[in-house]
């Protein structure tokens, strides 16, 4: 197992066995860069990192040898005449198995980029850049970031994206045009609490085995959809101390299982009730249970939107990284948690790869 940990001060790689009980820390790589997200492309093993520097801007780095040598995107930005400039890169999503060289990149302000040459050149997707609702989008606290990209596992023409605070969108034409899918999702901070767009999605996932089922951790609650996002059910309450939070994980073996890490709220962004509380539902969000085996029970932490990941084992392994520099792993779906690393820089992202 390889855990890719993006931090405020570079990338760390944690190597461990399939038992998921102990890991060796390697790094940092990409010193001087904030690594907002890093992922290993399952098609060829290349690591891609969404990298940002407060001096030198946003970019995407790639390494074909597990971090020893790195190349940087040669062409990335808004090349057409206009006022937009690339602010930050947020999330890299490798394309499908039968699309060699294709990658997607979520960025701010509200931008989706596509590469067809393995991350050397990136082109902004016009259907997002010139979206007819764009005037109604607003930046969230982290900027107007496009942070979630989900490629439908069964239909190559369908993909999902989410932007804070623009909402969730679905493409049915392979990522050329996108339609809002925010029906029933609240924007409690807006004059119209149920607008067409403008919702502050914090993270969106599509279940890999039941693709019509989507999960969304929003600024205003946790939601589930069973129709590719045409409608959403708010799942707040029923055991959750708060609907506010950022990360989200699912269990590939069971579409009714999901994990969230609630925070007190928008104005107090620390884990609820003064503990690191991971909450799991096993019934599609009807009820939620606190998982506390091994997790700090006196803690005021934050887990960022990219800070939780899951593997494909059964029972599922869930991995989360905190702003205080710890990586927590459960090898059994959430009953027992082990601290795989500590005292890293503030963790921005966690991904897992099965080597």
């Amino acid at each position: 197992m390889l855990i890719l940990v993006g931090t405020r001060k570079g990338l760390f790689l944690l190597r461990g066995g399939d038992d998921r009980r102990s890991f060796e820390v390697d790094g940092p790589f990409l010193k001087g860069w904030d690594v907002f997200h890093a992922v290993r492309d399952p098609r060829d093993g290349t690591i891609y990192a969404a990298t940002n520097s407060w001096v030198y801007g946003g970019s995407v780095h790639r390494s074909a040898d597990l971090g020893q040598a790195w190349d940087r995107a040669e062409q990335l930005g808004f090349l057409e005449e206009g006022d937009l400039k690339l602010e930050k890169t947020w999330h890299v999503e490798p394309g499908r198995a039968d699309e060699p060289g294709r990658l997607w990149l979520g960025a701010a302000p509200g931008a989706l980029f596509r590469s067809d040459d393995g991350g050397v050149k990136w082109e902004a997707v016009t259907g997002v850049l010139e979206h007819p609702t764009r005037e109604q989008w607003q930046p969230g606290a982290g900027g107007m970031c496009l942070h979630s990209i989900q490629l439908d596992p069964t239909d190559p023409s369908r993909m999902l994206i989410a932007i804070s605070a623009a909402g969730a969108f679905r493409s049915e034409d392979g990522g050329t045009t996108f339609a809002p899918i925010n029906k029933g999702v609240a924007a409690d901070f807006a004059p119209d609490p149920f607008p067409e767009v403008g919702q502050c999605v914090h993270k969106l996932l599509q279940h890999p085995a039941r693709p019509e089922r989507l999960w969304q951790q929003n600024h205003c609650g946790v939601y589930r959809s069973d129709d590719y996002g045409d409608s959403w059910e708010r799942l707040e309450g029923n055991g959750l101390p708060s609907g506010f939070g950022f990360p989200l994980a699912v269990d590939p073996n069971n579409p009714d299982v999901a994990y969230v890490v609630p925070e007190e709220g928008a104005e107090s962004r620390v884990t609820s009730d003064g503990r690191l509380g991971v909450y799991r539902t096993a019934d599609g969000g009807a009820t939620w249970m606190l998982l506390e085996g091994g997790l700090p029970q006196e803690a005021w932490l934050a887990v960022m939107r990219e800070g939780m990941a899951f593997d494909t084992h059964d029972p599922v392994g869930v991995y989360l990284g905190t702003q205080s520099g710890s990586i927590w792993v459960t090898p059994d779906g959430g009953e027992e948690w082990l601290e795989a690393a500590r005292d890293l820089p503030p963790v921005l992202s966690v991904e897992v790869a099965e080597l």
């Binding site: 520097s53 001096v55 030198y56 801007g57 970019s59 062409q75 808004f78 400039k85």
Partner: protein, 84 residues
């Protein structure tokens, strides 16, 4: 030939090369010829606001000045700190 000196992060991005010797008509041309030009300039070709350029020890905001053959150009990231 003129010399361009890179700070460590840019040198790492340039394959470890910290010093470049080159001829160019202007300071801008010299910077644009570097393999890390897109870290100095944004996609519109504008110098990133926190990248400072010193020529022979003096900061210059005008990059279109001629580059003397014996000039030393130093790229310096703005000093800022405290947030993290």
């Amino acid at each position: 030939m003129a010399v361009v000196l890179l700070p460590s992060l840019l040198a790492a991005e340039a394959g470890g090369q910290k010093r470049f010797e080159l001829d160019a008509a202007t300071v801008r041309d010299a910077l644009r010829s570097l393999p890390i030009a897109n870290l100095i300039f944004d996609e519109a070709g504008e110098r990133r606001p926190l990248v400072n350029i010193f020529v022979n020890g003096a900061e210059t905001r005008d990059l279109d000045i001629p580059l003397a053959p014996d000039a030393e150009v130093r790229i310096v990231a703005a000093i800022a700190g405290g947030r993290r």
